[in-house]
Every structure is written in C-alpha cells, then in structure tokens.
C-alpha cells in the first residue's frame, strides 16, 4: 500500500530577553545551578508574576512577520501537571486566547513553493531542568531555566515529508534570528522542536493517529527521527496493529524513538485562566511601533541580493540564511569597492571554511568584513592573485593587520610589469631549449613547465593572465 506522511511541528523558541517572563531573574545561559532562580521562579508562597514587556513585544513582532492576526486581548492560563522541575505545579501558558493567531510561512522544497499554516503562537514559561545522574539515588533539580520566556509556535499538519518539515524548521530558525527575538542556539536548547507524525493510506482524507516526538535538537535528528517513526508506524499498521497516541523520545545514539508516556492518561491539564495575571492588551500604537521595528525579512533580503548585487539564487540563499552573514557580506562589498561576486565567493569559500575549521560564528570572525573587503579589492585591482590572497588571508587571520599592510610587509605584490616578466621568460627559454623545441613541435602542454618554473622563481607573484599571454607569444617563436 502507498502511505502518506503527515507532519505538524511545535517549536519552542526561547525569547532573547535579559530577564524572565514573570520575574527579574537573569536568563543568561550556563550559570551555576539555581543562582538565577529567584523566589518567583521557585514559586515561594506569596510571590506573584509580573509580565515582561519585551516578551510581549517579541511575540507581536513574530506575529507580524508571519502575517498573523495579533489578539487585541490575550489571556494567560494555567496548565496543571506535577513534575519536580515545575515548582508551581502548573505552567503559566496560554490556551484559548493566544497572543498570535493564524499566520503562514512559505517554504521551498525541490524548487517548489509551498505555504505552511501556522496555527498559533503563544507565550509561556520554560520549566527547570531535572538531572537524573546519581545524586544518592535522587534527582537533582536546577531551576535557572524555570521562567525563561518561550514562544511556542504551532504549525498546521501541512507537511508531507521530512524534507518539508526541515525546510519549515529552517525557515523559522532563520526568521526568529532575523527578528532578533531568539538566538537560535539549538545545542543550548534555545530553539527546540517537537514533531507530530502520522501516516495514512494515500488518498485518505482522515488523519491517522499521531505520535509526538520530543527532544529533537538538530536538523539532522529531525530528519532521522521522522524517517524512523514513519517506518515504525507503517510496520505497526501493516502487521495488523494500531498506532497509539503517545509521546516518544528520539534516542540519537540508537537512532530510534521509544515510548515516553501514554498521552491518554497524562493529558488532563485542566487549563483555566490564571487569576494572577490580567488579560494582555495590545494597543494599536504598539502594533504600529512593532511594524516599524520589523527588519528586512529573509525573503526580501534574498530578492534584494539577487537584484542589487546580481547574485545567483544559490549565493543569495547561502548569504541570507543568517542575518549576521548577510550584514558581513554587505559591509565587505562596500569596502571592496563593489566587488559583489568576488566578495560572495570569498565569504562563502575561504572565510566560511576558516570559521568552520575553528567552529566560530561569523560574529566572531577574526577578519572583519572591512578587512576582507580590503583584501578582495586588491585581488580585483590585480595587486595580488587569488592564490596569493589566500596566503594574505591566513596572515590577516592571526593578526589585526589589513591586507595592504600584509602585502607590503611580505612583498607579495603581483608582478604585472611586462618588461620584467619578458626578461625572465627570455632567460628561462634560453636555459631550456629542449623544452622550447618540444613545444614548437606541437607538445603545447609544455607551457605548464614554463609557468611552473616562473611561478617558482617569483614565489607565485607573477600575474597569471599576463604570464600566460607573454609565454604563448614567445614560445610560438
């Protein structure tokens, strides 16, 4: 039988606020356990939540960016369950009146555009962390993360393959970083993904029973987990069983999903409006202000890069995936004197390779955009060749010197002086008459020998175009 995969996603994006959603404790990552958990986060008796303005503004910005309806009044609700990393015994979340309503995002898979519905996005608080390593047979609880603001972004079940799911996640990942509302760090859990997967016979209208897979903290894991889960569900159904509605955990080491808890019993959250918080009002003034603050969004930037800089679609895609990369590129083009294609090649090539090697983000690039632009300028005006430029970049990487300083100091200036090159060629030919004869007898590949010798003599500084032209003329005789 032919099966169709149906996927919906829930993304939890930690909002990049300085303080928590309901308290003045810091949200900085990596602090010592419980040093950023204040009385409100610990749910000590008598404490009350006060909503963080920035979290609200970030949620509104997101809503505007996906063309969603922003609720003039949204309501916080209590989601009740017991777990040690949730001190209040309920998570303050939103239920029937979320701040962001129906919106949409376009994804591109295999060159085809598809619109994915975003059902809603709501504000809520993150829970703490439980550490199950052995603390005398007990569980350790760190509540630093408790109360970190989250935007939970829920999609419609609109995706039909792992590739579509990945495209959607990547799109959102790029968008929240462009908006500056989430740092997107998946390793640190700032951007987490739960995937709802079901299968149904091709052509069937009704959805199959879905399983929710949690704990997916990389694009690769999402792809693998979906592939594995689809196969598992088809196996279950084809061998006469039925898929249970449950939460499954993806185990990256074993590359499999396993049952976590059955949803039927556990899922009785008894939501009710939180009496400690009043409805959140979004005024027309705030909407206007957020609209004005919206940066150029990824798609618009991509289009502009193709028209303004004459880049092809691939280059524009790569350069606009991260806002920081796009900013770097534009600054480098400016200081290169408008070498749009050459700068693109250097940013995507040598620079990215160097960053990958040292596992650095572009924000931490040892060579600034201005300095890279300065280097590219010297390639463009033929002061140095591309090959020598790699050498210069290496020297710039480990110092604060700009390209001109390095070229001057190391004497790397290209030899384009026709007279000087001709003299060297004449001498070399006189010393290697045999090779000259061979060339003239039709063995034109012999030109490589002369290029090699001359490059060696000039330590690679001979202008390659000039050298080739002169050699061809002279060897012809």
């Amino acid at each position: 039988m032919q099966w169709e995969t149906v996927i919906g996603l829930e993304i939890h994006a930690q909002l990049a606020t300085k303080s928590k959603i309901f308290s003045g404790a810091s949200t900085a990552y990596g602090a010592d356990a419980n040093t950023q958990a204040c009385a409100v986060d610990l749910a000590l008796p008598g404490t009350l939540p006060v909503l963080n303005e920035q979290a609200v503004r970030f949620a509104v910005k997101f809503g505007l960016a996906i063309g969603a309806h922003i609720a003039p009044y949204s309501v916080f609700a209590r989601k009740n369950y017991f777990y040690p990393d949730l001190p209040k015994g309920y998570q303050t979340s939103q239920f029937d009146k979320p701040i962001v309503g129906l919106g949409e995002l376009d994804i591109v898979v295999d060159g085809k555009v598809k619109t994915i519905g975003v059902t809603r996005a709501h504000l809520e608080e993150d829970a703490g962390k439980s550490l199950h390593e052995d603390y005398q047979g007990m569980t350790g609880v760190d509540l630093n993360r408790a109360g970190t603001p989250l935007l939970e972004i829920v999609s419609e079940p609109d995706m039909r393959s792992a590739a579509e799911a990945i495209a959607y996640v990547k799109k959102l990942h790029t968008l929240v970083q462009y908006l500056g509302i989430c740092d997107g760090n998946m390793q640190e859990g700032s951007f987490r993904c739960d995937v709802n997967v079901s299968v149904r016979p091709m052509g069937q209208e009704e959805f199959g029973t879905r399983a929710e897979i949690k704990n997916l903290n990389s694009f690769r894991f999402i792809e693998k987990a979906v592939a594995h889960e689809v196969e598992r569900q088809i196996d279950v159904i084809e061998s006469g069983g039925s898929v249970a509605q449950e939460t499954r955990l993806y185990d990256a080491n074993k590359d499999e999903t396993r049952s976590m808890r059955s949803k039927e019993e556990a899922n009785d959250y008894r939501y009710f409006p939180c009496p400690d918080l009043l409805p959140v009002e979004i005024t027309a003034e705030l909407l206007d202000e957020m609209q004005r603050e919206l940066p150029e969004l990824p798609e618009a930037k991509n289009q502009r890069f193709q028209t303004q800089y004459k880049l092809n679609g691939y280059d524009a895609d790569v350069l606009t995936t991260q806002r920081a990369m796009a900013d770097y590129y534009e600054a480098a083009v400016k200081s290169s004197g408008g070498e749009t294609k050459l700068v693109a090649n250097w940013v995507m090539g040598e620079l990215s390779a160097g960053l990958n090697k040292e596992n650095l983000a572009i924000e931490a690039a040892p060579v600034s955009a201005e300095r890279l632009g300065g280097l590219v300028k010297r390639i463009a005006d033929q002061t140095i060749s591309g090959k020598i430029a790699k050498q210069v970049l290496e020297l710039m990487w480990s110092s604060d010197d700009n390209a001109d300083t390095v070229i001057e100091r190391e004497g790397l200036k290209q030899i384009s002086d026709t007279g000087a090159l001709e003299k060297m060629i004449d001498e070399l030919m006189a010393q290697n008459m045999l090779q000259v004869k061979q060339y003239r007898a039709g063995k034109t590949k012999m030109i490589g020998f002369f290029v090699g010798q001359l490059m060696k003599q000039t330590q690679g500084k001979a202008n390659p175009q000039e050298l080739n032209k002169l050699l061809q003329e002279k060897l012809k005789g």
Binding site: S19, G24, N34, A37, C38, M138, G140, L249, L278
Partner: protein, 95 residues
C-alpha cells in the same frame, strides 16, 4: 451534573491530594452542590455579553526587561530538605 465518587478520586489524584476513604461520599456531595449552583447561574441569559478572563476589568501592567534579582541561592535553599552542588534533590523521577 452530579459528581460521582470516582470523579472525586480522579480529581484528587490529579491534584495529588490524599483523601480518606470515608470522606469520598461527602466530597462528592459537596462538589455536586457547587455544580448545582453553577447550573443555577447558567440560567441567567448572558447572550451578547463578552466573557471576562478576569474579575477585574483591567489589562495587565508590564514590567521593563531588567534583571533586578541577585543570586540568593544560599538563603533560598535553607528550606530545602536536601541539596547538593547547588541542586535541589528530590525523590528520583524517571520519565
């Protein structure tokens, strides 16, 4: 709508409340009476009235995004029955 004994036990379990067996009946009856009161209120015609999310007809005041809390772990953990390496220790939970 009347609340049965099994409803009482389920609600108590979800709220992690211990209830003596002998008290289940009286809770069921008390809760049923509350539900009756609610049903009585339901008889009032509220069509065309926007439901309120909060008894106060106001909107939420917001706080500026400023870190105002300092590390008070030592004070705050004085209540904790067991701690280690700055962590609160609780009976082992495995998901």
């Amino acid at each position: 709508m009347s609340i049965q004994s099994e409803d009482v036990l389920k609600i108590a379990h979800l709220a992690r409340l211990g209830i003596e067996e002998g008290q289940v009946e009286s809770y069921a009856s008390d809760l049923s009476n509350i539900m009756k009161l609610v049903e009585q209120m339901n008889e009032v015609d509220t069509s065309g009235i926007e439901p309120m999310a909060h008894p106060l007809d106001q909107s939420q005041r917001l706080r500026a995004d400023v870190v105002s809390e300092t590390n008070q772990r030592e004070e705050l953990q004085k209540n904790a029955p067991e701690i280690e390496d700055g962590l609160f220790l609780v009976p082992r939970v495995i998901d």
